[in-house]
Symmetry: C2
């Protein structure tokens, strides 16, 4: 195999010559471009034709590994050749993809920091994948699939020759879904997992429960979903969750559950005594309590037992326990509540509700500390901003009007030695009109657009601080999102975050350079059957997404 | 049949008791509510059980009418019973829907002003539909289908008893699609037609061609799509168009084509000499001409021949000829063009490009006047604002930052005796975060939200002026919309326009009153298989939309 420099520019880009606007380089897209951009990629000058009957995969010593078998099945039978064209056969030599993985086949999902590094060489005669772990092999195979393109002229599938060395910039690259405001079906969640893996994302942050509904089914405490779910149809059984975790694992994705405490808890009302009574300005009891009662000691036993079950359900070593927006309910539910006030006096907290919050969180930290299955807790940033997080905590940043404000927070929190995860740059539920992944959209906070340009380590700090930046999670809160629209709303906007979190910053400075590859990604995933919406103004894909036929009108 | 006043309120609304925010009345939705709200509706106090085997339809003298046969097929076999539940049979008397239509079965689509009036009576023993036209019968049947609900308690389909008299407030209630910026498949267009009919909308305004691509295939001038389409796959043959028109007809929908002239014409470049040369500030020729050359006399012969073909393709008596945003290109393509300047001098226009625009439009009016198949032209408002429209024209309003500005324009244009169609209130492509159909969303022009509150006749004017308001067309421009996302982005936001344009203003003053019905509509259409997105913050449907299963991960 000979490493060749890029010789022929026309191989890289296709021109359309159509009238477009709002773009520096309007009429090109990449051919065989890889998304997210690898750490190092050197294209050869030649392509080779691929035919269905001449392609094979060799899993070497790992022929029994379910992750690799699933990978081989998915890519060989679907993802490599997604276009609705007749597949040519014969007329060429065998093309074997040899996959070599150093570590044993893991029985569980990837863990934090699992290697995803890989080497990929594609020559005219073969492809070679070398990886430390099966997760690296999955990433390599996805890259390989991006090198495959359909040559409209010769009407053949081709693959670009290439040498790639690749590994992620950050260990946490995720999507947060919210199944409380609107329920999401297993099919829809799995589809997002598939698209995530096609963007080399590795974390599903599952915000399972919030004020509005409680779709998580606890075996120990069935009154929670019994009262708190939207309906008996709007629940995830523990088997459902196991199915999601297994599906995610086969795609190199961890599932981190969130149970938000002590606020956002209205839907826990099935548990008697768990929530305080809350009062409006006139002192009348409101019917929507939304804060845990911290003075009911039984609540901590309950949380402990509940979390023991949660850890048995979710194997990931991270456990998100929320902690956001307690302030929004504190006056109504704690300050105006006489029992709470009395308790605060007894404890010597005076009027300082922060001390009561700290009291709650300290007891929560102690619970986490004692869990049989050890977990590293994640908290939303308020627990850092207002309280005193357990030193073992990860802080999850969601606030900030500008990228600079967000970087300042990253700097501040990491200076106190807390690892951080950033979502503030990628609140994808905030939709606007325009190419918001790259352009600033007026009428919205600056941090709510230009997703591609948010770089979480872009602050003055030590290397140790920057190493505390674990990555980012693009959030799609569920207020206005359900099965009908989540997919097109997420993608390819979340792909911008995926590239930012995987690729070297210095090679991904300009959205203008990225979009021809993003366009190709979109069209590739559209042909794989996913609703990847246009997000760069007028364009087209060689093969468009389509719906099944509408009602037949012919009688 | 006895008309009964509403006796039992609990029949009307279902409560969910979940924690919601941002709503006056958070926890209710209608049961058997009709959208858009009929002119007059009086519910009975009782419901009757419907079973699949006991329901029948009697089309009376119109048993051979394809529109009614298609209707019977669609509703009896699909739309009346959309939920994924086991259907009970037997145990009740026959329930026959008797449909009586006065006018003969029409061979063509509905025409402007076709009656859509109907009477619908549902008693415990039968349903009776009386209508002037088949279009009225279609509207009645849709209303009837809204009276059907699934009773979760008894696990039965039921229908509400009711007496409805109904007719639309405005004759034009439409959706504008744009197939130039992004191509839309026939399946996707047909799905939108189905959802339109479920909202009693009756006009598809098809903005076929724009600067970006030319998907219309002309038999006489195949060089147009040959050069101007995105690809040979991105075109509508005349057979495709006939299929759309036939599909729309069976649902009571007219199809009005738009060919935008003289601007937005880059994609017509296949026709040599049709566009002027255009020049940038330095006098260099730009490669994206976007204005017709008005001094090339052959162009008018071409337009004439082209429009003859268009009128043979589209039977509707309205023909939209654009006329918008000529100003955007006039400096580049006319002012800086020496040949044009010379022509203007010769004609005595001096430097006044408006006179050249007028010259173009006068010749265009003359062409329309002489078409073999008579057409009423529609122009975007600039032709009124800047030029002198043919007195036969309809003016299409798309500008205005506030509802008041829009009403002022309606007042002004109707005072000059021009009929108007309003789109300015319903630019649905401008997405924002929130319940924009009813709430003002900051960071956007006020006219780009609160769709439900735009009332086109809300101006001081004579009855004659108000009668010139033909209705409205909700526009979903295609810059960021294609097959992947158009459906969820349109609906139910366009349903707000549908109710405004159909229902009496005085009964539809508050979005808070409307949303329980809109919620029920959303869930009904979701169960019919359409992607009707949530647009009222957290909620759920008894049966949610779902995707087909993702890739099987099991080997």
């Amino acid at each position: 195999f000979q490493v060749m420099r890029l010789l022929i520019l026309s191989l890289l880009f296709v021109s359309t010559f159509a009238w477009f606007y709002g773009r520096d380089e309007p009429d090109r897209w990449s051919v065989g471009g890889v998304w997210p951009l690898p750490q190092k990629i050197i294209y050869g000058s030649k392509n080779r034709t691929l035919t269905y009957d001449k392609i094979g995969i060799d899993l070497g010593d790992r022929k029994d590994c379910d992750v690799l078998l699933s990978m081989a099945d998915n890519y060989m039978n679907k993802w490599l050749f997604p276009y609705p064209v007749e597949m040519k056969t014969g007329g060429t030599e065998d093309f074997i993809i040899t996959v070599t993985v150093k570590e044993e086949c893991p029985s569980g999902p990837p863990v934090h920091g699992s290697s995803e590094e890989y080497l990929l060489r594609v020559s005219l005669s073969e492809a070679v994948i070398n990886a430390q772990t099966v997760w690296g092999a999955l990433r390599a195979m996805e890259s390989l699939s991006h090198l495959v393109f359909y040559d409209q002229k010769s009407q053949e599938y081709k693959i670009r020759t290439v040498e790639i060395f690749d590994k992620p910039r950050f260990p946490v690259r995720g999507i947060m879904i919210d199944t409380s405001r609107h329920f999401l079906s297993l099919n829809v969640i799995k589809r997002q997992l598939e698209i995530m893996s096609m963007n080399k994302m590795n974390v599903l942050h599952w915000h399972l429960v919030d004020s509005e509904s409680f779709p998580y089914t606890s075996d120990k405490f069935p009154e929670l979903h019994g009262v708190g779910a939207y309906s008996p149809r709007h629940v995830y059984s523990r088997e459902d969750i196991a199915e999601v975790i297994a599906f995610a694992r086969l795609r190199g994705i961890r599932v981190i559950p969130e149970f938000d405490l002590p606020g956002h808890t209205s839907s826990w009302k099935g548990r008697k005594g768990f929530l305080t009574e809350c009062f409006d300005e006139k002192g009348e009891e409101t019917f929507l309590p939304n804060l845990v009662d911290p003075i009911n000691e039984a609540n901590f036993d309950f949380i402990s037992e509940f979390l023991e079950e949660v850890t048995e359900t979710f194997p990931d070593q991270f456990l998100h326990l929320g902690g956001d927006e307690v302030n929004d309910f504190i006056v109504e539910c704690w300050v105006r509540n006489k029992k709470i006030r009395k308790f605060m006096e007894e404890k010597g907290f005076g009027n300082d509700t922060i001390l009561l919050e700290n009291y709650f969180f300290e007891k929560l930290f102690a619970i986490v500390e004692k869990l049989k299955l050890k977990r590293k807790p994640i908290f939303w940033q308020e627990v850092f901003d207002n309280n005193i997080p357990d030193p073992n905590s990860i802080i999850h940043i969601w606030k900030g009007n500008t990228h600079e404000e967000i970087y300042e927070q990253v700097k501040n929190i990491t200076s106190k030695n807390f690892p951080v995860i950033i979502s503030a740059c990628w609140y994808l539920n905030y939709i606007k009109y325009g190419a918001d992944w790259r352009d600033e959209i007026s009428g919205t906070a600056p941090s709510n657009s230009r997703y591609y340009y948010c770089d979480p380590t872009n602050f003055n700090g030590t290397d140790a601080q920057k190493n505390l930046v674990l990555g980012g999670i693009a959030a799609i809160w569920g207020e206005l999102v359900d099965n009908t629209n989540i997919e097109a709303r997420l993608w390819p906007r979340a792909s911008a975050a995926a590239e930012r979190l995987w690729s070297p910053a210095e090679k991904t400075q300009r959205a203008e350079d990225a979009w021809p590859r993003m366009h190709e990604l979109r069209c590739r995933l559209v042909s794989r059957g996913y609703r990847i919406q246009p997000n760069n103004n007028p364009d087209f894909c060689p093969f468009e997404f389509d719906e099944p036929p509408a009602t037949k009108s012919e009688l």
